[in-house]
């Protein structure tokens, strides 16, 4: 396993409902990032289809593996880069049950996927109408270290990233489609999740306007001490890189020992209270 990796944050805008064009953009971006020696290239939430596709989601969703993941696997194989992207995933067992999923592939093929657990359904968001929530936190042991995946609104719930950390994640990846009015939340929460878990956090947000909804970008990598190591532009497409050295976790974890000081007995009480809210 590599201790030091180079991560590329591919902050793109998507052409809504046009998977072919988005796959082409993903391929071009991965090639560009690879030329700058990126080991891992991360794309936003639902970057295969765009975010505001509403009922069209039923026509766009695909199984995993499926035609689009196959294309991404080919790109990964060809470029030798790992890729994380988002797509609507059609359940293999049903005909119209869809998940909002993050997919991780590497040069050897498909590595794993994470189904978004917290689906915002308020204000401009209508995810519960379309998606079934996932039920499991996801961490994958890769040559690029232990990578945990979360998606957008999951970051508001510390237990999701905490779970990935407890399962060993060194790098927590949050892919996102966050509109401009939510910027302050994400700028705070990305730092908080990295600090409280003493792990790296890579946040990749969408840009562009979909059905009047403006996505703000601002993708970033936060170190285990909460320091923002790199940040992409607001509102425009961007590709930024950052070297991450997992050895940096140790010194932070030693003197900010949030994992050592965890109190599991509180979780029972937390569960009880949450059930009676």
């Amino acid at each position: 396993m590599k201790e030091k990796i180079k991560i590329a944050l591919a902050q793109i805008s998507c052409k809504r409902e046009d998977k072919a064009e988005n796959l082409t953009k993903i391929e071009k971006t991965v090639i560009k990032a690879k030329k700058q020696s990126a080991d891992l290239v991360i794309f936003p939430e639902l970057s295969l289809t765009g975010y505001v596709v509403r009922d069209q989601i039923y026509e766009l969703a695909e199984t995993i593996p499926g035609p689009s993941t196959k294309v991404i696997e080919d790109i990964s194989r060809k470029t030798k880069a790992h890729i994380i992207f988002g797509m609507p995933e059609l359940s293999e067992k049903t005909q119209a049950t869809i998940y909002n999923t993050a997919v991780l592939v590497g040069p050897e093929g498909f590595i794993g996927k994470y189904r978004k657990m917290y689906l915002p359904t308020h204000s401009v968001f209508e995810e519960k109408r379309y998606f079934r929530p996932g039920y499991q936190a996801a961490v994958f042991d890769t040559v690029l270290g232990k990578v945990g995946l979360i998606i957008c609104y999951d970051i508001f719930f510390p237990e999701v990233s905490r779970l990935t950390r407890l399962k060993g994640a060194q790098l927590m990846v949050c892919i996102s489609a966050s509109p401009a009015t939510r910027r302050a939340f994400f700028e705070t929460l990305t730092v908080a999740r990295a600090m409280e878990n003493t792990a790296f956090l890579a946040y990749v947000n969408l840009v562009g306007i979909e059905d009047g909804l403006q996505f703000w970008g601002g993708s970033r990598i936060v170190g285990p001490n909460g320091k923002v190591l790199v940040q992409a532009k607001y509102d425009d497409e961007d590709l930024v890189m950052c070297d991450v050295d997992y050895a940096d976790i140790r010194s932070v974890e030693t003197f900010v020992p949030t994992l050592k000081d965890l109190r599991p007995e509180l979780f029972d009480e937390l569960k009880k209270q949450a059930e009676n809210l």
């Binding site: 052409k15 409902e17 505001v52 509403r54 009922d55 209508e126 306007i209 059905d211 009047g212 403006q214």
Partner: protein, 280 residues
């Protein structure tokens, strides 16, 4: 929540940037050649015309000045031209009086004293002109409705509100004034009393019986789920006034949501077809 005027403060530079990006993105994706705005010389339409010009260039924006005999106001026409000149947009004047007069003549039940029906006909006639230009020149129609008037239904259904996009519909009137100030709309336009110009002497605040400064705070409170009693107490006004505004807001939803049909089939227009607004 404290209902002080400061709750309506926004970062006006950020608002300007967001609106310009919204306009530019929509025009580009639609493949249209530009924008047409019905330019009355009032605050809202001047602001929208100026923002359009700032977003895509004045040479791609057409301000249509559409006066008619009964409400014609040379000052408004002068203001409309002033905005066009300052922001470098094209303008054209079409006097809609002959159209209206011909229209009135063909209606057996026409009643010249019925000012609301006549006023709404004027607003709808203006939009016929605007869409003629839009079709002929491949332009997007930019609406000038603001949040205050749209919330309380102070507009003509299928009339002045008809447009393809609404750049300032999420801003209350007093916020539009601040934005206008920020982007350099001439002071005399920014501060003049608002009028829908449906009949002579019509002034919005007089007709509504409330100043926009107060109306906007009431609407802001309602938007944030505050109870009328709480709003009234904070603003030091009668609860009945807040109730009246709330009633206007809720009873005008039929003007904001179009296409109501009984549900008969699998997917119904207006009820459960949920599609992105545009397909490209």
């Amino acid at each position: 929540m404290e209902l002080a005027p400061s709750v309506l403060n926004l970062d006006w530079q950020e608002v300007e940037t967001k609106i310009k990006r919204f306009i530019k993105d929509y025009v580009e994706k639609s493949g249209a050649k530009g924008i047409v705005v019905s330019l009355s010389g009032g605050l809202d339409s001047s602001t929208v015309a100026a923002l359009s010009a700032l977003a895509i260039g004045g040479d791609k924006v057409l301000g249509l000045i559409l006066p008619e005999k009964e409400t014609r106001n040379e000052k408004d026409i002068e203001h409309a031209k002033l905005v066009a000149e300052k922001f470098g947009l094209k303008s054209q004047v079409c006097d809609i009086t002959p159209t209206l007069e011909a229209f009135y003549k063909t209606i057996p039940i026409f009643d010249p004293a019925e000012k609301v029906c006549k006023g709404n006909a004027k607003a709808r006639t203006r939009i016929v002109y605007v869409y003629y230009y839009a079709n002929k020149l491949n332009l997007i129609v930019c609406g000038s409705s603001d949040k205050s008037e749209t919330m309380i239904g102070y507009f003509t259904k299928w009339g002045d509100v008809a447009a393809d996009i609404y750049p300032i519909m999420d801003l209350y009137k007093t916020q539009v004034r601040k934005l206008a100030q920020h982007i350099g709309i001439p002071k005399e336009i920014e501060t003049k009393p608002s009028t829908p110009a449906l009949w002579p002497g019509q002034l919005a605040e007089k007709e509504l019986g409330i100043k926009y400064e107060q109306l906007d705070l009431i609407l802001y409170g309602l938007e944030h789920f505050m109870k009328p009693k709480e709003i009234a107490e904070q603003l030091g006004i009668e609860k009945e006034l807040v109730d009246k505004i709330k009633h206007r807001w809720l009873s005008a939803e039929h003007k904001r949501r179009i296409f109501l049909t009984p549900k008969l089939e699998y997917r119904t227009i207006g009820a459960d077809f949920r599609l992105p607004r545009s397909y490209y």
